[in-house]
Symmetry: D2
Subunit: 383 residues, 4 copies
């Protein structure tokens, strides 16, 4: 059986998640190729060694260049802070390797487009870790929408709210760096924008507002010295889709009490559907026209009738978790690398997502509606 050499840069939550996802996917799906765990990289050698040992990587290193140049590595996972995605991915692409990069793809549309073009020219497979798109019920929702089950789509409302930055005493970190992190519009906003595009299609215009509610934070844990925060804590935008549908999104990392409130509601001329990732095994579907007195949202539990669920369990109700979505993502990454269907969302799609984010930033700065396609075009991309 064909094998794919795996190299992972970064050993945090996401580095581990990529490794676990590949390991699980190889066991639960009939993959066209077997992942072969080659190398893991972290500036901290102890961390690199730990992940390597646990997952059976053949080697570990502190320099990511060693990884992208390693001939045994076919797929490079990039799970580092955002500003490192571009140099690492570009080097990997230059070395002819497929890349599985975490979101958001890059700090700017320009860089994202450059990455997408490089991959296209090099004809390497790319994938971006918008893992929530791999929820079986999200994919089922898309199928329902495509089949016209709720009619013409009129409206999309989406939110991604968490509270990991809600405490004003949390110190400054790379997430608050305008380039390395980029604010919540990039960190969580990219998820909800990707979801909006996945379900409803291209976003023609945005009209956004960004707020920084915690103006300064301790320079370090417990430090008295405070540094100003230059990125947004809450992002809001009105949307106009190319299809004519309207919508709105919000992203917040200061939403006290919310842990994974990535939720959406799509409304059409015949019905509606909604889902909240805090209860990711439940899709709520309404279709007009039931018997009198019996209409209402159906609470659909995830089950083997939904995409990829059956690999985890033959019966409904057995609850998919976060790592299962990531394993589904890994399945399609491996298939793409092995020459099957291109992965969605790839770098091109992620560049389009980034253009929406940059258009929201521009709109927030200047006021009024902005067209992501124009930013994409200016950055050298094709809408």
């Amino acid at each position: 059986m064909r094998e794919i050499g795996i190299g992972i840069i970064g050993t945090g939550f996401m580095g581990t998640a990529h490794a676990l996802a590949l390991a699980t996917a190889a066991r639960l799906f009939d993959l066209p190729a077997r992942p072969r765990f080659e190398m893991v990289v972290d500036p901290d050698p102890a961390r690199a060694e730990t992940l390597a040992r646990r997952f059976g990587f053949a080697r570990h290193h502190t320099d990511w260049r060693a990884l992208v140049e390693d001939p045994a590595v076919d797929l490079v996972s990039v799970t580092t802070p955002n500003h490192l995605h571009a140099p690492m991915s570009l080097a990997a692409i230059a070395a002819g390797k497929a890349v599985w990069c975490e979101k958001p793809l890059a700090p700017t549309t320009r860089e994202a487009v450059a990455m997408a073009r490089a991959a296209e020219e090099a004809r390497v497979a790319t994938a971006v870790g918008f893992n929530y798109l791999k929820n079986p019920l999200v994919r089922f929702a898309r199928e329902l929408l495509a089949a016209g089950e709720i009619g013409e789509i009129w409206s999309f409302r989406g939110i991604h709210a968490e509270d990991y930055m809600a405490d004003p005493e949390l110190p400054w970190s790379w997430r608050l760096d305008p380039v390395a992190g980029g604010g919540v519009v990039a960190d969580l906003g990219s998820h909800i924008v990707a979801l909006a595009r996945f379900l409803v299609g291209e976003i023609a215009e945005v009209n956004g507002d960004l707020s920084t509610v915690v103006g300064e934070r301790p320079k370090a844990p417990g430090a008295a010295e405070r540094v100003p925060v230059e990125v947004d804590d809450v992002a809001r935008a009105l949307l106009r889709f190319s299809s004519g549908a309207g919508g709105s999104i919000e992203a917040s990392w200061v939403a006290a009490g919310r842990k994974m409130h990535l939720a959406f509601e799509v409304t059409g001329s015949r019905g509606a559907l909604r889902l909240d990732m805090e209860r990711l095994n439940e899709l709520h579907l309404f279709v007009r026209g039931g018997p009198a007195g019996r209409e209402g949202f159906v609470e659909i539990p995830a089950g083997p009738d939904h995409p990829d669920y059956a690999a985890f369990c033959p019966a409904p109700g057995h609850q998919i978790g976060f790592n299962d979505m990531k394993a589904i993502e890994a399945r399609y990454v491996v298939e793409a690398v092995a020459g099957g269907r291109p992965f969605t969302p790839d770098f091109g799609e992620a560049a389009a997502v980034q253009a929406v984010i940059d258009a929201i930033r521009l709109s927030a700065r200047e006021g009024g509606w902005r067209r992501p396609a124009e930013l994409l075009y200016e950055a050298g991309g094709s809408p």
Copy 2:
């Protein structure tokens, strides 16, 4: 005991609701004055007679002018289509009567301001039927916010979604008339704007978008002929409060499957609270700082510790309904008419709400941020 002569114009859902609310309030609260049911008016004499008989009104009439001129009437309830609110209220005010008018107060800020000024000059009590503000848990939420329980307010997200116009085959009706109805931004948007102001305070700037998703409708039930729809079906707006908080609202009457999804979430520096009128007896409150592993939203059931609930039941859990909120509203209307505390929201507050609606319309037409206070000022009002 002092009595207040009641006159009600309109016998639809809201006319009946006013009458029932007064009857119930008089029985459950220690009112400073007793409602005396004097006259009910409807163009259809049979409808007027029915309501009069059921509620014990002394007289009924088909001409509302008879009511506002009747010396036995002290309080005039206006429950007609929106464009009639102004002439009826102004005539009542001119006759020295208190007015309890349904929302939205008037088709334009200018008219709303004129009504507020007339009432102020005539020194008559006014009240506007934003009934959801009288939910005991909404008022309790406001008390929590005022007491700083969730810290400094950072964000407000509100929605009022229903589906009574969702079916594209529903024929044209007065709600779709730009003046008599005014679109969903006026019909439901006014509720969520009033709620935003009630909980968070003045809205300094809005940035809105309006959509008409059903472009034409049958001229009459079952008619082949179609007429264009000139008002909005979905309204969305970004908000900036004077306090510095940010926010967003949505109003939709084509939200398939939603029946009373008037919901909000307020987030602050120490916590958050949220409520959905489809489950109006539940307030969800999060305050940071609980014991490790035990933090979460508390689902607070409505009970006698919340404002006005105890009049309906001495124990929690006995579920307040729509008519109970209206009875609480009636309580405060009667108290205001009897010379107690002014009612909130009165005509002045409703004019401010209307200025927000008009600012959203203006923003939607021209793009960018608009200041409601400027529209209020132009209309002769004081912010």
Copy 3:
């Protein structure tokens, strides 16, 4: 229009609720007779006077015998502690008056049967206040069951849990008196038994267990002296219905955190339905056989397609409350008194409910299964 003279004994939560329900029903329904508020009775004359004044009763009194003998009174509402239901009702019946009595009907099946027989012989209408049966969605559920929408009924699971006695420091009160109160099996258990019979039919056998978890309580508020508690705090029973269905019920007044957890789930060969009175405007219905991947419980919001809802509001979503259910009850009480359909549940039905309660008590004392019909027969009733 015909009138019915109303007399109410008791001015607590339930006395007030009866009065309000009659007042509201007269305004919202086309009743065949108009309630005429004649007399209210309470041992405390100030309380009697207050209720009389608020609701416009012509007279008030401290002696209930004055009420049952008053020729202007046609319907006697009995809302006193349970052990007084029998003497008051029997006196009213003897005086030829209709009786609307609160639940449970009497401390024992024997007394309940005697009341039912007296009413039958005197041919007076009777009604018992199992108000939750009047929830429009409960009645709709019964219609669905009767129509076979979920097939043959296999299982009923019911609970009525509240926490008004949960605090061990709550002092002794009449509810803890074996005769006046009768324990939770009588106080809340009667509600869930009545619901089980309403939805599924006759209960052939029960097998019960009763627990007293707070063995003694302060003799009075704040008192150091403690008195033993002789009644049950939690009641549980297995059920076998005459139809062959099985089931179980629980009643608890020490269920910390539960305020109105009166809930049931009925399962049949083709589907299931469930409802919880803490969210009384939502019925959940599952019917097998939907399209693949789209099956699930439908959350049906209460609306005008359900019995009696339309009297309160012409649109769904406007949330019925406790007092609205009581007004529906009042509607059918008045119709029964005016000679229309007999009220359900009447004294005969309530005696059958009581026989189930006594059978649970007997089973709990002696162990094993007991047949309510035998207790009913021994008490002189007919199954």
Copy 4:
């Protein structure tokens, strides 16, 4: 690093789940020994080969005796129909191997006790797959109970309802064999009994009822011939715990619409907690004594403050799934086999669970209360 040779008998959902759980646990936890995948067994060689290939087992076989005799195998996973658990486990124990057996442990208490005694005498580690006990929030709930957070435990109510046998046209299968399957009281009832014991402790007495609602089923898929069903579809029982607490349980595999309704509520003198495995990342906790108007159940989202969650994700909200619970189970199995803490629940505990099940069966057959400890004693076990 020490290694543990793994052998798995059975390649269905559970065989795969064991293999995946071990693979995942080895990657996410600091295990004291590394699983080494030695052999997988299935009567169907193609199935055995597939699982072996996917998970990297060194060998596969069609005869389970080859596995238990293989010297490289240290831990035998038994995931076959229930009546095979005993012979396979006893053979493995005789060969000095640790055993991880699926639930229910055996068709009868007698066999379960024999298995437990054999393991004890052979001093081999044993584990039984009551996977839901490994939900981080269930273990957190137990910690809260042990710490007295809700006071003295008064009541336990549990249910495990699914609908995989609800369709009367589903054909006969091994689950319906009285020995191989044993009815729902064994299949799902064992889960809820194990949970009751885990949270509240020993069950002193049970009083049960068993129903077979589908009396006969097609002999095979689509067959016209029908065979009688000899086992129960619904099981219900009242419980009395040794601590004095009371309770009830229900198990049903014909509960239309329910997929994983394994739920419980524990009530104590100061509070209550509840959880439903259909939303397994939410624990609801109520503790009396909050500020006025602010009491309610707290909805606690699973997070790194709860046992073992942090291995999957450093932040709350990222949703544990079924396979994650199984990986936690695998962690503790490996630790026990490696000589650490004995696994809970082991064969001894599972025998005690089986005694409760047999006591329910006996009670259902003969009526009245039965003591599991007596059945355990008669079977040769020690309570």
